[in-house]
């Protein structure tokens, strides 16, 4: 899963920081036609285009530090600005740069609202992240497994019970995780690993947990099922519904990449 990248960004110039407003929506932007792009490209020198590409790459790396999806509207407003007619060309080069230089991939996880995340493109194990992150992702993996095995959505009570079995009490402050409830319902939700939605017509209000968009993108369901299968000392095929879901889902994501 995603390591914390781009930490090198307290640049001297940012010591006089401006506040960035995040656009809520991106309604005003429609993708330019290819002739508009061509005209746009002709107006800028290739050095200027490369400069824009560099700025977008840095912008995304900085924003990605927060693990919150990066909106297309923000990229345009803060970096591309008046050159929005060559946005597609710039993004093409940005994608290539992330892959070729950093081994990262820019994935559009929210097609409707045009938001991206950076995921790791390298096949093998990631460089060692800090300890807390390892523990948190371990916990996340368990929660994702529970949700997956139970068909894609579970009532929050199930998750809290699972945690209690792991000796992690959501009511108490945990040594490694801190406020566990906040971690699951706030931090992981913001990072799009989980969804925490209110179940309608419940009183007192109940919530359920689902997989978030980032989890769908980053986590292999096949691998997860294999992990669960190993725990039970059985074969993954013993859970036909989940097995089918896993193979379909992974086929879909490898098609998209």
């Amino acid at each position: 899963m995603q390591a914390e990248l781009g930490k090198c960004v307290l640049h001297p110039v940012c010591l006089s920081r401006q506040v960035i407003e995040d656009d809520e929506e991106d309604l005003s932007f429609t993708l330019p036609s290819s002739s508009q792009v061509q005209r746009g490209m002709d107006r800028l020198t290739s050095a200027e285009v490369d400069r824009k590409v560099a700025e977008v790459v840095q912008f995304i790396l900085i924003k990605d530090q927060k693990k919150v999806p990066i909106k297309r509207a923000d990229i345009i407003k803060n970096v591309i600005k008046e050159n929005r007619n060559i946005y597609p060309e710039i993004m093409k080069k940005v994608n290539m740069t992330f892959e070729k230089v950093f081994g990262l991939k820019l994935v559009e996880i929210d097609v409707k609202n045009h938001a991206f995340i950076l995921v790791n493109n390298l096949e093998l194990d990631l460089p060692s992240p800090p300890k807390r992150q390892i523990y948190c992702y371990g916990l996340l993996f368990v929660i994702l497994s529970v949700i997956f095995m139970k068909g894609g959505a579970v009532k929050e009570a199930v998750v809290w019970n699972t945690l209690k079995k792991l000796r992690v009490d959501p009511g108490e402050r945990h040594e490694e995780f801190g406020d566990v409830k906040k971690l699951l319902t706030d931090e992981f939700v913001r990072q799009k690993y989980l969804e925490y939605a209110r179940i309608p017509h419940t009183d007192p209000p109940e919530h359920e947990f689902r997989w978030g968009l980032r989890a769908e993108s980053e986590v292999s369901k096949t691998r997860l099922l294999e992990f669960v299968a190993q725990l039970h000392e059985k074969e993954p095929q013993n859970w036909p519904k989940q097995y089918k879901e896993a193979t379909t889902s992974d086929a879909r994501s490898s098609q998209a990449s």
């Binding site: 090198c8 001297p12 950093f102 081994g103 390298l122 292999s220």
Partner: protein, 264 residues
């Protein structure tokens, strides 16, 4: 560009970004580990060439992996540094405006001091007179902890110094803002904060503590390299480069020896 990068280089770069700054011995181990993991040919002294290739691809992005010697322990460190001075670099979302102002004031204190150190008391006093928004004692202490954790400042005995990474990343900015107020070391000619200074009033040159150790090693009669006046300060022992640094971070990556292939 010399040649294209392979996953080996990318993994190294990701690791470096993850850790912010790493000491040379760990960089060497990381290089070896990345080559092993990606079945790439590894040459023992190939680190600098390896990094040069990555840098050739980072240059158009206004980033560089730079190396620099630490003022604290005299060891060489590597960090990924932002070289651009564009608008977007102002958008670092880690620190609030008043936090950045306090950090700047801390830097002012450090530059103004002879020792290259700022006491927590002096920093707390600054917190009281910020233009953006005043900070209380507790807030300031938390901020300082974060700055140390994020490797911008080092702390020892209640005094704060600029970290190696900070100096590396901010060198251009520091020289632009502080100009003559910041000195360069008479030996290595890099910017210097924590130093020993020549006692001769008409000389006043500064040297990094590790540079002093190296320059005066084995000399019984230390003299200023510029004016030949007697060098009155205690000459520190030179650090054996094979030693693990005591003060600097132990959070550099340890190469993972187990790697399972993730099947998708």
């Amino acid at each position: 560009m010399a040649g294209s990068l392979s996953d080996c280089h990318r993994r190294f770069l990701q690791s470096l970004m993850c850790n912010g700054i790493i000491v040379r011995s760990k960089a060497i181990a990381l290089h070896r580990n990345c080559c092993e993991v990606h079945n790439t040919h590894y040459t023992r002294d190939g680190l600098d060439e390896f990094i040069d290739l990555i840098n050739s691809h980072l240059e158009p992005l206004f980033m560089q992996i730079r190396k620099s010697v630490s003022e604290e322990d005299g060891l060489q460190y590597y960090a990924l540094v932002n070289m651009a001075e564009t608008d977007i670099t102002r958008m670092s979302s880690d620190y609030a405006d008043n936090e950045l102002e306090l950090f700047r004031k801390t830097m002012d204190l450090i530059v103004d001091s002879e020792s290259g150190r700022a006491s927590s008391t002096d920093i707390l006093n600054c917190a009281d007179s910020l233009n953006t928004r005043k900070m209380k004692k507790k807030e300031t202490e938390l901020l300082l902890t974060r700055l140390v954790r994020d490797k911008w400042l080092n702390e020892k005995h209640g005094e704060y110094t600029l970290s190696t990474r900070c100096i590396m990343e901010m060198e251009q900015y520091i020289q632009k803002i502080y100009q003559d107020m910041v000195k360069t070391c008479a030996i290595c000619h890099n910017v210097v904060f924590q130093s020993q200074m020549c006692d001769n009033m008409s000389c006043g040159i500064k040297m990094h503590i590790p540079c002093v150790a190296k320059y005066f090693k084995g000399r019984s009669d230390p003299q200023c390299p510029v004016c030949n006046a007697f060098w009155p300060h205690e000459i520190p022992e030179i650090r054996d480069t094979a030693q693990v640094p005591l003060e600097m971070e132990n959070t550099a990556p340890t190469p993972s020896t187990s790697h399972s292939r993730r099947r998708r």
